[in-house]
Amino acid sequence: MTDLNGPEITRLLRAARSGDPSVQERLLELVYDRLHGIAARLFVGQPLGVTLQPTALVHEAWLKLEANDGEFNDRQHFFLVAARAMRNVLADAARRRNSQSRGDGASRVPLEDVLSLAVDDGSALDALVLEEGLTELERLNVVHARLVELRVFAGMTALEAGQALQLKPSEVESAWAMAKAWLRRRWSQS
């Protein structure tokens, strides 16, 4: 696992602002590894205490990076990457658990709290259902998909997310309403 606190991630974050997709991918990989590491350490088998929430995890990763390199200050960009990485971590975990538990009936992996937007049958939203919806939304409107990621996986406010995506407040509101309605409609149909 590459260390998030190493100089490479800072360099990549700087380079990523140029928009080079290969840099973006490499960055995503690094952050994914790091979040996965933190998650594996914190989510597994705790008899006591509260599990860290996904969003808190992303922020913890950020704080570590920032503490390590005080000059670097591109929080928004980091969060864009980290929210995507977090989404991947959770989706992968859900797939893994589904494949492990196949056969004993328990196949749904409900997401906690933020993601527990109840669907019509009242059950909690499944991580994989969200993942499928986001993947499709990504094809239709990538900004809307990023907005959902930032709000759900990085715990950003609409305003913060809008800044990160360079949207006006009115645009954020409209995009958030649309993305939610679209995702929800998709779930109610599926």
Binding site: R41, L42, G45, Q46, P47, L48, G49, V50, T51, L52, Q53, T55, A56, H59, E60, L63, K64, E66, A67, G70, D113, V114, S116, L117, A118, D120, R139, L140, N141, V142, V143, R151, G155, T157, S174, A175, A177, M178, K180, A181, W182, R184, R185, S188
Partner: protein, 1073 residues
């Protein structure tokens, strides 16, 4: 990159959701039908989603709060230029509690290291203690200790931050230094001996480091080791740090490797000098072998505790054969798990190290073979895996019992100790977590685990039963189709009428089951609801009908406002039954005929438009908040001419109003979370007329009075509902029914429960009777007092006496509910009371007169004058009801009832503040500059051995400035609360200190023993009520941390703990049976 179809959908959706009704239909009708169909689907989804949004938004908000905490914990604030008188230089380090800077002090001119702690919510009192502790530590002057210069606090824009300045050491941590300087084994042993010298010096000054680790030992350029960070931050975070680490991270990071097993398990209470010896042993081991003895990285707390308590480190010679012999023996002796087998002092360790260096025989002995064998058994029996398995598996298994009796006894004792320690650690954490949102779930998990575990008899105590009671579901909740806007209980108390977002309905008040729906659901927003005084009809206001009246039995509409005034929002039905009052979004106050709906009275610009700010008393008089932020009262029958302002104008506007039934008191709440109570029956300029308290973080949406007018309830957008003492607005309880804005709250008839609801579509009925941590309270009406209430329980009865000022109140404790039942109150010209051990006599004292009365009929049994005044304390001898002790300032008086003159007098020279009568004529006293003193009054009596008093007293110097003293039920120990925040457990008759209970951060005002002697409860000025295991001194629960409290008592059956708080209220903690 955007899909064109999605783009088109978005565009139409955006336009359509801006409008509704006809315009929306027109818009969609004009569009491509296929697209319009899809957009309708999206609009439906969006509207359906709205219900969930409140939950989702609340969840996101909670995530953000969590992140905020995390951010402040990890904090990377901007670099300050100046802190107090210090010019800040470079950042030297970042620690768990704060940042360390190099800094320059201008006068005296010197370079210092400045440690600035993270901003936390700390009180002025904690600040003061922090400063005091820093001054105390400043007296530690030793070449091996970094000198503390001074402490203070600053505000760098994040709130108050304590800091302290200390000697600036330029050097490396001791392990790094030893490696860089390539010290050989002898050099390393000598280095540890010098560190031990410094620690010994601190111990001699009464200071234990508690957090010794290589990062806290720097070696300067001259090779001099310097120990840093002697518990200076302890007052800030003594109790919370471990628990916070655990609950927030799920793991312990950092310093666990250097913590002794007893410190890790027993927390602050178990800390003594031998914990520092253990840490020195770890440093020694690390310097010799290059690793810490036990590695706990990645372990959870319970596993780490298990590991530390059971697993022995590898012998150093296993890692490096050259370390065999004396060096290994010394290191392992310092690392003994049992503190009693460890070096008793740092000096002993230093001496042995120097003996080894000088090739002299050392004093430490390698453990005998027999001892090792026993340890082997214990270790392997202990390593059975999970915690529960550990507890169940060890005790009395058959193979085990077959071994020698002595062995099994010892092992069993060790395991029982371990089980108790683990139990204590978990209860402590669970009790801390219980005060957090979501803590009930944690309590439930915890009680389930420990109720099944086979633990040694007597491990589970009062706290366990209490937590079980608390974790029981405290109320009933049902899901509703939509969020709740308002609710009202029927006059007979059997039903509750609810205004929900798209419907109005009546439910059974007990089961919450739906009874009847008022009209068809959907399509209209219902704002408010009220019952007719006879309970047969219900009035609602909604956005389609305006005011409407329904048959409460059938749900049929009786009439709707003939004029269709759809701007009505608040509604109240007059007690006379003939009129219905509404407020409106247009600011109009109206009175309708209740039979026909005809408009009778109309007052323009009478009220605020955007809130339901209308309340009515039992006679129909109303109050409304007007457009200028004032509260205006209209006597019934309502007429604009008779209106009068009664409160305000408020700086923000009022958002909720409630008149009590007799109309004499008005509660108002504003958008900022403040509640104000106005006494309408007192003169406008009377000093006690209004009282305000900030109760919620966000706007308050509804207020309600209890039927008996002693309680107020408030619901708020801060996601909570609070229950307040009406007399002083002290919050008694806080409910968090769901993580969403709360819109309404009301009491059941009889005040046994609260209904509440809000954005999350839930209706909750929370019981105020059972399993509630705050039971019933009393208060001197209308005063916030800081007097200490005095408590006395009558044995063999349910009676509790409290004293407040000169008022003595009698209460009864019904077993079932735990509610305090008021019996009577009487005024005594007295300042203190005491109840005789048989419960039949009550003594009271006033200035220089002592009076004994019958507890049954209040008849005066005896009274006499004392030679000194004022009498501050009274006590009956536990073994003889005819023996009464009293004190007045420094004078201790012993009386035999019936004899006017004291039979014994002793001048203690210092003011007495605490007294406890013991058997056989003995009395324990203590006070200001008067350490705990045991007096044998029989020796002072005429003909006694010692009329002068010198031989009659025994002093415990460690117990300086006692504020409360209580003897254990078996008479063998004293629990002594001190103004230095400690509680000491002292053995009788020698007064040796058995335990020093550390957990309070304010003067301890009260201590009490549970009747079985297993628990000690303590309460202090820090607001904490703590529960301790009396045998091992471990903290087992934190019951409260917000109520500065004085006296406390267990009931004789041990089921209830009664605490008198400084606010003049009494809290009853009732443990389940």
């Amino acid at each position: 990159m955007e899909d064109p179809h999605y783009h088109a959908l978005h565009e139409l959706f955006e336009r359509a959701r801006q409008v509704s009704g006809e315009p929306r239909e027109a818009l969609l009708g004009a569009a491509d039908p296929a697209l319009a169909r899809e957009v309708r689907g999206l609009l439906d989804a969006a509207e359906g989603a709205e219900r969930d949004d409140a939950i989702a938004e609340a969840a996101i908000a909670r995530q953000r709060a969590l992140v905020g905490e995390l951010a402040s914990a990890a904090g990377t604030p901007a670099h300050p230029k100046q802190v107090g008188p210090y010019r800040i230089g470079e950042l030297l380090g970042v620690g768990g509690m704060g940042l360390v800077y190099a800094a320059e002090q201008l006068s005296p001119r010197r370079k210092v290291a400045l440690k600035v702690l993270h901003p936390t919510a700390i009180t002025a009192e904690k600040h003061a203690r922090f400063k005091r502790e820093a001054e105390l530590l400043g007296r530690l002057q030793h070449a091996g200790i970094a000198q503390i210069y001074e402490a203070g606090s600053c505000d760098l824009g994040h709130g108050s931050q304590p800091y302290f300045a200390m000697e600036l050491i330029r050097g490396a941590n001791v392990v790094v230094y030893a490696n860089q300087a390539r010290l050989d084994t002898r050099g390393r042993l000598a280095l540890v001996a010098r560190i031990a010298d410094a620690i010994e010096h601190a111990h001699q000054q009464g200071v234990v480091h508690r957090d010794l680790k290589p990062d806290n030992v720097l070696v300067d350029g001259a090779g001099q080791p310097k120990v840093l960070d002697f518990g200076v931050a302890r007052p800030i975070d003594a109790l919370d740090s471990l628990a916070l680490t655990v609950t927030r991270e799920g793991q312990i990071f950092g310093t666990l490797a250097y913590m002794s097993p007893e410190q890790c398990i027993g927390g602050a209470a178990a800390v003594d000098v031998r914990c520092d010896v253990y840490a020195l042993g770890v440093i020694l081991y690390e310097l010799l072998t290059g690793r810490t003895p036990l590695r706990t990285d990645g372990l959870t707390v319970t596993r780490a505790m298990h590991y530390l308590a059971n697993v022995d480190p590898p012998r150093p010679s296993e890692l490096d054969p050259r370390l065999a012999g004396d060096v290994e023996t010394i290191a392992l002796k310092a690392l003994e798990k049992d503190p009693l087998r460890r070096y008793a002092r740092a000096k002993d360790l230093a001496d042995d190290l120097r003996r080894a260096l000088a090739h002299e025989p050392i004093l430490a002995r390698p453990p005998s073979r027999a001892y090792r064998a026993r340890k082997f058994v214990r270790r392997h029996k202990g390593l059975t895996g999970t915690l529960t398995a550990l507890l169940i598996g060890i005790i009395g298994t058959s193979t085990f019992a077959a071994r020698s009796f002595r062995l099994s006894n010892e092992t069993r004792a060790a395991n029982e100790r371990l089980a108790r320690a683990l139990y204590g650690a978990e209860t402590r954490l669970a009790s801390l977590a219980a005060t957090e949102p979501g803590g009930l779930e944690q309590l439930r998990r915890y009680t389930e685990r420990w109720s099944d575990a086979e633990v040694p008899a007597g491990t589970r105590g009062f706290e366990f039963d209490l937590m079980q009671a608390l974790s029981a579901p405290e109320g009933l909740a049902v899901e509703l189709p939509q969020r709740v806007m308002a609710g009202e209980v029927s006059p007979d108390g059997a039903y509750i009428a609810l205004a929900t977002k798209f419907a109005a309905e009546v439910r059974d008040a007990r089961t919450l089951a739906p009874v009847v729906r008022l009209g068809e659901p959907g399509g209209r927003f219902v704002f408010d609801i009220d019952w007719s005084p006879d309970g047969t009809r219900v009035a609602t206001t909604d956005e389609v009908r305006g005011l409407a009246v329904w048959d409460a039995a059938t749900g049929a509409e009786q009439w709707r406002d003939p004029e269709r005034l759809t701007d009505a929002n608040g509604v109240e039905w007059a007690p006379s039954g003939d009129g219905i009052v509404t407020t409106s979004f247009q600011g109009v106050l109206r009175v309708h005929d209740a039979a026909t709906g005809a408009l009778r009275v109309r007052v323009e610009r009478a009220c605020q438009g955007d809130a339901k700010v209308l309340s009515m008393d039992g006679r129909g008089n109303i109050v409304v908040a007007d457009q200028r932020g004032r509260v205006v009262r209209y006597p019934w029958p309502i007429d604009a001419a008779t209106a009068a302002q009664v409160a305000g104008p408020a700086p923000g506007s009022f958002n909720a109003l409630a008149l009590n039934a007799d109309g004499r008191r008005l509660a108002c709440a504003d958008l900022n979370g403040n509640v104000t109570v106005v006494r309408l029956d007192s003169a406008p300029d009377a000093p006690e007329r209004t009282r305000t308290r900030h109760v919620h973080a966000e706007r308050i949406t509804a207020l309600a009075w209890s039927t008996d007018d002693t309680l107020l309830a408030a619901s708020s957008w801060d996601n909570s509902v609070s229950l307040l003492e009406a007399a002083n607005l002290q919050p008694q309880r806080r409910f968090r029914p769901s993580p969403s804005r709360q819109e309404f709250v009301c009491f059941t008839r009889g005040d046994t429960a609260l209904f509440m609801g809000g954005y999350a579509p839930l209706l909750l009925r929370a019981s105020l009777e059972r399993s509630s941590p705050f039971q019933r309270r009393w208060a001197r009406p209308g005063s916030d007092t800081t007097d200490h209430a005095v408590l006395a329980l009558r044995p063999n009865s349910d009676e509790l006496l409290t004293m407040h000022g000169t008022l003595v109140t009698k209460w009864r404790l019904p077993r079932a509910t735990g509610l305090l039942e008021f019996v009577e109150t009487s005024e005594r010209r007295a300042g203190v009371i005491a109840v005789a051990p048989d419960g039949l006599t009550v003594a009271s004292a006033n200035d220089n007169e002592i009076e004994l009365r019958s507890a049954e009929d209040d008849r005066v049994l005896a009274n006499w004058r004392t030679p000194a005044s004022p009498i501050w304390g009274l006590a009956f001898a536990p073994d003889r009801a005819a023996r009464v002790y009293a004190y007045a300032r420094g004078l201790l008086l012993a009386y035999e009832v019936g004899v006017e003159e004291p039979v014994a007098v002793l001048d203690l020279g210092r003011p007495v503040l605490a007294m406890e009568a013991l058997t056989r004529g003995r009395v324990a006293v203590g006070g200001s500059n008067l350490p705990l003193t045991l007096v044998d009054t029989r020796q002072l009596e005429p003909g006694g051995a010692d009329p002068g008093g010198a031989a009659a007293t025994r002093v415990c110097a460690a117990a300086a400035n006692p504020t409360s003293i209580r003897v254990s039920p078996d008479g063998t120990r004293l629990a002594v609360g001190l103004d230095s925040y400690d509680v000491l457990v002292v053995r009788l008759p020698g007064l040796e200190v058995e335990h020093d209970l550390l957990g309070h951060t304010g003067t301890v005002f009260g201590v009490a023993w549970s009747p079985d002697g297993a628990r000690i409860a303590s309460a202090g000025g820090d607001g904490r009520v703590l529960l301790w295991d009396a045998r091992d001194g471990g903290l087992v629960a934190l019951l409260d941390q917000e109520s500065p409290a004085g006296k406390l008592e267990f009931t004789p059956d041990g089921r209830q703990l009664i605490v008198a708080t400084h606010s003049g209220s009494v809290t009853v903690w009732t443990a389940g049976s």
